[in-house]
Amino acid sequence: MSAQNQEIAFDITWISNVQVNQPAVLRRAEQIQTRRTVKKDWQAAWLLKAVTFIDLTTLSGDDTSSNVRRLCYKAKYPIREDLLKALNMQDKGITTAAVCVYPARVSDAVKALKDAGCDIPVASVATGFPAGQTHLKTRLDEIRLAVEDGAKEIDVVINRSLVLAGQWKALYDEICEFRKACGDAHLKTILATGELGSLTNIYRASMVAMMAGSDFIKTSTGKETVNATFPVAIVMVRAIRDFYWKTGKKIGFKPAGGIRTAKDSLAWLSLIKEELGDDWLKPELFRIGASTLLSDIERQIYHHVTGRYAAYHDLPMA
């Protein structure tokens, strides 16, 4: 993990003049999804790369230590060993980027990963996930407790009411508090873009979150009605690019929610490569929040290696 981002002073001019043209962004989103086909070996390599970006996630009311433990082992062994060998990739240490759980399951995940003998970080959602409609004090406590339990990354949700009311400075202050509460843990800020009202608001919220010291900005909780979409992603990565241009700091991006197929993941990788460049194609700067994506990727890898599609029982469950 790279060094943490630190907050910088709030500068309203970075967001006040910005306008995002929605139809133009929609057109670009349409284009970018289809323009970079990768085939054959390139497809296999890209899919394996996508595996290393996955924050393997379970965020359900019925999560228990048993299924969290299963998930952690899948994170450690995301692709069947023989398939990796066939691709001569068995020694590349391919694991998912992190495991992402609710705060109450952090200690289970930390223990399971320790048992599995790997140092995959555990990410915890926090701050009243997914709605963020709790008191600031309890939201901050949530972060501290998760960090105490061993979470290395905290996925916080922002207070949408501040965005919709245009209280950007207040939003900045809140995220700065989150930043402090995280201590050494990485801060990933979920913008819940489906609830921000406009692409312009999404750009502004992205910029404020980065100014306030977020290490990642993340599209959504996966619990909104609209989750990670390409237009939203384009606006967020453009904000990341502008922030880099202004400060020299590279901030990470994490789309989450609704990314289920291997084909989707390839489109997301090409989006990052096109809009941000190869520098961002590493787990320190790009994550995909997903729960079922991994099994589809594994199926595609299976097909690439064997020329046949796997039956559901051919691949180990998470």
């Binding site: 133009a24 086909t37 085939k39 069947r80 190869d278 290696v305």
Partner: protein
């Protein structure tokens, strides 16, 4: 299955490849197979012929020319080059097919178009692969851009054909249409033209070059779709159209698309041939980025306009100074991400358009550099590559010679501007009038710029969006042809009952001598019969002394002098044009009602003196008094009728497709010049020039703004006066669904008479009027397609 997988040997021969790709994360090749095209070419034999009269023709004795894939240089096929005789044959075939095709009910033609659409869909893969290989444009643009648009065009025009009898009553097809294709975009440019032409009942001869193999395929597929033989013919050749087309009496209209110079040459060559000409010239476009724009989206607009295979040509990019630095940074970043490569690769953005286009780009770059410009390219293109990389040209001043030239594809020449006003001055101060886009998130600013740009087509916060229902066209040196929408349809129609246009060389004035010396006129001793007019030329609302200070006699029908008029000269013309320019803006900006009142007042004035006017006409022309009276009465009626139509028709907001609405505007053309032919009688002069005033202004505008008619020297500072030419008619767009009354042909046109003097226009004096025209009578003007920002 699990056992099989446990001992995988797999097809993955490139396992080490996966390893290295995993670390580099490069893109790989994603090729489309050329096999279908190769099989099709194979079936045609070693040489592709022409497709005429529903079959392949390979006449003996025509020089073959090779057609190569511009990306790889591989030989695709040899094409024959049509000679004069063969072109005449093809036109003749189309002429004979017209006899059966144009009387068909519109509904039957609609079915033909729909069947053609279905046939194109059946063979779409062959079509997109062939077009990509022959043109060098990437296959993705052809498949995702051109083919759906072609389908839409066929559907749209089929709808028009279906309702033709009701929707287009009073109009008939012009006849045989010759379509000259540009080398790039030949497939879709062909569809833009043949769809409306075929729909309204014209037959077509398409002239294609070696890069237009897809035109031959479309013709072949049209035969398969059951289109009658001879309705759509494709003739191959490399000879310039101006050498082939004139002298072909069967061609009613030539639709040309190509470089500006060739368009000018064709206009000269076609003058007097009787054929209509519509030109869409030039490829450069303009993009204006204000500091209130979404800059990232504007950068994508630049990509659409210049750095992709959607873009026809280069781009002039104006960026507001306060956003200049950021915009440049974003452009340079974006430029590095454009992928170039073989047109058959699905993951490539740009192909190449052949060695000639490469040379044009390279020489522009070299010239710009020598004039102090900085060039920015990615730098990863190897030397000797057939691909010209996307390029930024910075720091070129508008006054440097290179900045006047048309920017070639795929170059972007960037100019900073300080204020919106300055941006308008910079963009309107060039001869270009094609397409532009304006980028601002402020609705008022965006609309204001779009209104004031002298461009045929303006997009707001988008670039290059096309829709079958939204007309797209140009003005100034880009020519005045319109495509799409009803405007595109009327290109191939004329009002019912137009007599055949006179042919033969146009009546040309000797402009080298015109107005420079007055012929000697000595007192004749006889007193003119009617000497009511004051002496002088009528300029800026009053009679002035002519620069020549001499007179010329006006001879009556019996050879008797019936009046002396002031002899005008070049200086008088210049002053008249100046006066007209001064008056033009104020006249055009008057409320329509006020212009209508002025025209009606004029009609009243004529009406009061109609008896006197008719008598004078009889005296000068010797024609029958009753006929002359009728002529005068009809002229007055028409003046009134046009006064009633000052409210621009057809303008307004329209919705089209998923891209949002567009706004279609009609603009006054500005100052018109009319040169009266020798010996024409006044009222008939007005009649013969009605198209010039009513329908033909767009051509005239082209003439005035940089497409000079042959042989007419420029008036300093005012463009050129263009005589109405036999080869040049109005674009025939309807002003009204009911043609207005007229003495002979019934064409819906206005009449302008010079009445204030009380004397009709002298019969033997070339007179030049400068008439700032009423908006509604100024022809259809320029529709502007502007998808609204939201």
């Amino acid at each position: 299955m699990a056992a099989a997988a446990a001992t995988v040997t797999g097809p993955s021969a490139g396992a080490s490849g996966v390893r290295s790709i995993f670390s580099t994360m490069d893109y790989g090749p994603a090729p489309e197979s050329p096999s279908l095209v190769l099989a099709w070419l194979d079936k045609q034999g070693s040489t592709l012929g022409h497709f005429v009269n529903g079959k392949w023709l390979k006449p003996e004795g025509q020089e073959p020319v090779t057609c190569r894939d511009p990306c790889s240089g591989e030989l695709l096929a040899s094409c024959l080059q049509a000679d004069d005789g063969f072109v005449a044959l093809a036109v003749d075939v189309a002429g004979r097919a017209l006899e059966a095709w144009s009387p068909l009910p519109g509904a039957a033609r609609a079915q033909h178009l729909l069947r053609l659409a279905e046939t194109l869909r059946r063979h779409q893969k062959l079509l997109w692969t062939l077009e990509a290989m022959a043109s060098g444009r990437v296959v993705r643009e052809v498949r995702d851009g051109d083919l759906p648009l072609a389908q839409q065009l066929l559907q749209y025009h089929a709808s028009w054909a279906q309702t033709q009898e009701q929707a287009l009553s009073g109009w008939e097809p012009v006849g045989v249409v010759a379509v000259v294709l540009p080398p790039a975009f030949s497939f879709i440019e062909m569809m833009w033209r043949i769809c409306p032409a075929l729909a309204v009942g014209c037959t077509v001869v398409v002239f294609g070059g070696p890069a237009s193999l897809s035109a031959l395929l479309v013709a072949q597929l049209s035969e398969e779709a059951g289109l009658p033989p001879g309705v759509l013919n494709v003739v191959m050749g490399t000879a310039p159209p101006e050498t082939l087309l004139p002298g072909l009496p069967g061609v009613a209209k030539v639709a040309f698309s190509g470089p500006v110079q060739e368009g000018k040459a064709l206009r000269r060559a076609l003058a007097g041939s009787g054929a209509d000409l519509s030109l869409s010239l030039g490829t450069e476009s303009l993009l204006v980025v204000t500091d209130t724009a979404d800059l990232d989206s504007a950068v994508e607009g630049v990509v659409d306009a210049a750095w992709s295979d959607r873009s026809p040509g280069g781009l002039r990019l104006l960026v507001q100074l306060s956003a200049y630095e950021e915009m440049l940074w974003k452009l340079e970043t974006r430029l590095r991400r454009v992928r170039q490569g073989r047109s058959l690769d699905w993951a490539v953005d740009m192909g190449t358009r052949g060695p000639a286009a490469w040379e044009r780009a390279q020489s522009y770059v070299q010239e710009a550099q020598s004039q102090g410009a900085q060039i920015f390219q990615d730098g990863s293109t190897p030397p000797q590559s057939p691909f010209f990389p996307p390029t930024l040209v910075l720091g070129l001043a508008p006054a440097s010679p290179c900045a006047q030239a048309e920017v070639p594809w795929p170059l972007v020449t960037v100019f900073p501007f300080r204020t919106a006003k300055e941006a308008l001055a910079m963009s309107n101060g060039t001869p270009r009038g094609g397409s532009a886009s304006v980028w601002s998130e402020r609705l008022t600013l965006g609309l204001d710029l779009a209104y004031k740009l002298l461009m045929g087509t303006v997009w707001i916060n988008a670039h290059g969006l096309k829709d079958a229902a939204a007309p797209v066209g140009g003005c100034k040196e880009n020519g005045s042809a319109w495509h799409g929408g009803p405007d595109g349809l009327y290109e191939y129609l004329h009002p019912v009952g137009i007599p055949p246009r006179p042919q033969g060389p146009p009546q040309l004035l000797d402009y080298d001598k015109f107005g420079l010396s007055a012929p000697p006129v000595l007192p004749s001793g006889t007193s003119p019969a009617s000497a009511t007019a004051p002496y002088g030329v009528f300029v800026a609302g009053r009679f002035q002394n002519p620069s020549s200070r001499s007179s010329r006699p006006v001879l009556g029908s019996g050879g008797r002098i019936c009046a002396h008029v002031a002899e005008g000269g070049a200086k008088d013309i210049r002053e008249a044009v100046e006066a007209a320019h001064k008056a033009a803006a104020a006249w055009a900006s008057r409320v329509p009602g006020s212009r209508a009142s002025a025209l009606w007042a004029l009609a009243d004035a004529v009406s009061q003196r109609s008896q006197e006017l008719a008598e004078q006409l009889v005296e000068v022309t010797g024609s029958d008094l009753a006929d002359t009276r009728t002529e005068v009465v009809l002229s007055i009626a028409r003046l009134r009728a046009w006064g009633a139509q000052v409210h621009a028709q057809g303008a307004g907001l329209h919705s089209a497709g998923p891209h949002g609405p567009f706004l279609r505007l009609r603009e006054a053309l500005g100052v018109l010049a009319i040169v009266c032919p020798e010996g024409a009688a006044p009222a008939r002069l007005c009649v013969s020039h009605r198209p010039g005033l009513g329908l033909g202004q767009r051509h005239r505008r082209g003439a005035q703004r940089g497409l000079p008619a042959a042989g007419s020297p420029a008036l300093p500072g005012h463009g050129r006066p263009a005589p109405p030419r036999a080869g040049e008619r109005g674009d025939g767009r309807p002003r009204s669904s009911h043609p207005l009354p007229g003495p002979s042909s019934g064409r819906p046109c206005p009449v302008v008479l010079r009445l204030c003097s009380g004397t009709p226009v002298p019969a033997r004096t070339p007179a030049l009027f400068s008439v700032p025209l009423v908006e509604a009578t100024a022809g259809p003007g320029s529709p502007k397609a502007l998808p609204a920002p939201h």
